[in-house]
Amino acid sequence: MSTTTTSIGAKKPLADRLPIISHLRMSAGLQRGMLVAGLVLSLIFILAAALAPLIAPFDFAQITDAEGDFPTQAAPGGKFIWGTTVGGFDVFSRTLWGAQTALLVIVMAVVCSIFLGVFLGLVSGYIGGWLDRVLVVVADAIYAFPSLLLAIVMSIVISQGQSSLWGGIMAAAISITVVFIPQYFRVIRAETVRLKAEPFVESAKVVGASTWRIMFKHVFRNATRTLPLIFTLNASEALLTLAGLGFLGFGIEPTKAAEWGYDLNRALSDATSGIWWTGVFPGVAIVLTVLGLTLVGESMNDLGDPRLRMRRKKKRTSGKGAA
């Protein structure tokens, strides 16, 4: 079935055609609330990541300053507003810097997987035949793996468990990429297989357009409309995978970059001795970021479907709308 009537118009201003802004404009009621909440959380996350060097009072690996060594496990207050960890890191600074690492990993992971996934999906769906069958089997095989386990294996293969800032980020991003490619592949392939039977693709065939032209001019632009949605949902999954890797000790070394998963791991032993601040802040950061991204993704999903979308009613006049 086609919902092409809701598609992008020609004369509409650019702002109305951008994914999130157009969604915001047509939202109403609870759906609008969800979307706005998600956007605010995501915006805070992005701002924290971008402005970390300006806002954070200390560097992520800093344990001394002019006044000497930082206290360890100091309670929140004074110079260290969110306290310090057992190693003497400032929790506030590390949480802010952690946002930067997280954002970099999300961007790298999604960019790496989106190109390959979309390309393979298009080719596999349109050309079909044995190539399609092989690619689908491979994608299914990757699906069958627990994704975290695969990410661990990948991070060991890529960086031998050791990591610098970029090494760590790339290791995390690539290991996530391996898990994500099948997702993009699947979505684009399914869409391509559907579009292949549409009359407009047949009409391009009748005209005599080459396979590549049909694939990229006619199918591609129609197949990628769901991408912003998967992008947002995958972003939150990428973040969780990164945190999981860090928590298990396969992440980035604390002196190379701040990473929420690693900090949570370190905070494990603190929890029993009543030191709550080392665990709560990175934990809450993970939860809120994932929540924000998921809210945006889910709202986009609902708003993109005309049957799920709520609409503003101008007035309620007498007479009941028959149910």
């Binding site: 598609s7 009409s203 009748v206 129609n222 005309p306 101008k314 006049t317 028959a322």
Partner: protein
């Protein structure tokens, strides 16, 4: 009738349904849209009221309010009084009590209106058991009774069949049986025959007529087909843009329409035997010219799924299309007419016999060797909404053949697009619009422009007007005819509508289950068919004239 009582009539004058000043508003992204604006009409017991109008006239929405079936985004005002109950004011529970008992619905697509995992007997019984305390046995007995009434042979046995074991026409009979099970005062039939072939349509219309006479049921018939209206309706309500334009007795409406809109609507309906393209011709013209398409004993089979035998869509068909000739191919659904058209365009593979297109043998089809010939073939698809890439502007879509086959600069392409749009009577400015911003008729014109972009020798038109409203269809057909005379291309015109085919093509072929049963000059095939199937096909076609249709119906029932 059995324990379900005598027909109940609400008011003394026999009115069972009256709609008063109904207004329905939909809340959409673009604000509020008024779909129905102050519609009023009445239906008496034993009367068939046809609500006709083009798509978007609000006829279906009006009918759905009678059952209280409206989308969540709709708000209805006014009154729909069904045997004393205002359907707009009832609660969910009250509505459920009324549905089935007082009003039932017959849907357009019989294959989706039945649940495939239950037997038809179960589905009929479900309605009965939802309404009254009937035992399983009684419900079954009643189901068998109504199935027998609607002409299902061996109802005792067939009651335990699943929907897929019935044909399309029989499924529609089952749905009518389910609607009749509780003996409702009103049946709302929303395009009940649109998804069916003409020969089946004639039978279903006959059944609805019997239902009216035997059960004294009021029928609201929603349709866009004026032939069906002429055949069945007692009274006609013509709707346009959410308003009632005219209400009249059927005979009166067809013989002396009062409103301009009604006149134009009736004028646009193709009438079999009028405006024949081949009127006065006695032999096939233009046979000395170049042969563009030649099929000899053509066979096309679709491979069966695991365990099922292959399906032969086209069986031993031989035909010939010469330059400048319009060949009309008619047949019901599944007759293989579209398959032939697609095979000529290289969209389907042939599996046997020979098909020569512009001298190219399609049996050894290779995309690479066939590609140069593609510029000589234009193709117009059935659904204009789906045959344009929604992401490209009309100008880009029309220019696509030029960009693929000729080395042209954007300016040259643009000039040619302007020229083409002008030829199909669309303003140049439409080149910058997107497909969804055009109406169905405009899109089909643009589609015609695209297929003519390279001045093809052969145009294949696969049901080009069946997705359009009649008034739009008339204009598109007129345009097609003009362009054909002017440019002189040969055309294969595929349609299920005999009247449309007769208007355009001089030579007509009739397909039945993959076989070409008859070929001949259009006007001769239509007026004097020789094959039994063609005779039946033509006899079953309802004409938009109640008097003539009554005579034709008698004749059809005698042959059937």
């Amino acid at each position: 009738m059995s324990q379900h009582g005598t027909p109940k009539i609400a008011t003394a004058d026999g009115r069972v349904l009256s709609i008063e000043d109904l207004q329905v508003t939909f809340t959409t992204d673009a604000g509020e849209v008024d779909a129905v604006r102050g519609v009023s009409f009445e239906v008496a017991a034993g009367e068939v009221v046809a609500v006709v109008g083009e798509s978007g006239s609000g006829k279906s929405v009006t009918a759905r309010t009678v059952l209280g079936l409206l989308a969540e985004t709709a708000t209805a005002r006014g009154a729909v009084v069904l045997r004393g109950n205002n359907m707009l004011a009832l609660t969910g529970r009250q509505l459920r009590a009324v549905r089935g008992e007082d009003v039932a619905m017959v849907f357009q697509e019989p294959s989706t209106a039945l649940n495939p995992v239950y037997t038809v007997g179960w589905q009929i019984a479900e309605g009965l058991r939802a309404h009254g305390k009937v035992s399983k046995k009684q419900a079954r007995a009643r189901a068998i009774e109504v199935l027998g009434r609607v002409g299902i042979p061996e109802p005792e046995k067939r009651v335990d069949y699943y929907p897929h074991q019935f044909s399309g026409g029989q499924k529609q009979r089952v749905i009518i049986a389910a609607a009749l099970a509780l003996n409702p005062a009103v049946i709302v039939a929303d395009e009940p025959t649109t998804a069916l072939d003409v020969t089946v349509q004639a039978e279903i219309l006959e059944l609805l007529r019997e239902v009216r006479d035997e059960f004294n049921t009021g029928i609201v018939l929603i349709t866009h087909n004026m032939g069906v209206v002429a055949d069945l309706a007692d009274r006609v309500v013509v709707m346009y843009q959410g308003k009632v334009v005219e209400t009249a007795q059927s005979l009166e409406l067809f013989s002396a329409p009062r409103e301009d809109y009604t006149k134009a609507l009736l004028e646009a309906v193709p009438h079999l035997g009028r405006n024949s393209a081949s009127a006065g011709m006695s032999e096939r013209s233009g046979q000395d010219k170049e042969v563009l398409v030649e099929a000899t004993n053509l066979e096309i089979t679709y491979p069966g799924r695991m365990g099922t035998p292959a399906f032969k869509a086209v069986d031993n068909v031989s035909l010939k299309i010469c330059a400048g000739e319009v060949y009309g191919l008619v047949g019901e659904s599944g007759s293989g007419k579209t398959t032939i058209g697609r095979a000529i365009a290289g969209l389907n593979r042939t599996t046997g016999g020979s098909l020569k297109v512009l001298g190219y043998e399609m049996l050894n089809f290779k995309e690479r060797t066939f590609k140069p010939l593609r510029q000589e073939i234009g193709f117009v698809f059935q659904d204009p909404a789906a045959s344009f890439n929604p992401q490209l502007s009309i100008g880009e879509c029309v220019a696509e053949p030029l960009l693929v086959h000729r080395k042209v600069t954007p300016a040259q392409a643009r000039a040619r697009v302007d020229e083409l749009l002008e030829a199909v009577q669309l303003p140049k400015a439409f080149a910058d619009r997107f497909p969804h911003e055009l109406s169905g008729g405009q899109r089909q014109r643009a589609s015609l422009a695209r297929s003519l972009a390279l001045d093809p020798k052969l145009l294949i038109a696969d049901e080009p007007t069946s997705a359009l409203d009649v008034s739009v269809q008339a204009k598109v057909l007129e345009l097609f005819k003009e362009l054909q005379t002017e440019l002189g291309f040969a055309a294969l015109f595929i349609s299920h509508d005999l009247a449309v085919v007769d208007m355009l093509s001089t030579w007509v072929g009739v397909l039945y289950r993959g076989k070409l049963v008859e070929e001949g000059i259009g006007s001769q095939v239509m007026s004097n068919p020789s094959h039994q199937y063609t005779q039946r096909l033509i006899a079953s076609l309802p004409v938009p004239d109640p008097v003539e249709q009554a005579i034709r119906r008698e004749a059809f029932l005698k042959t059937g």
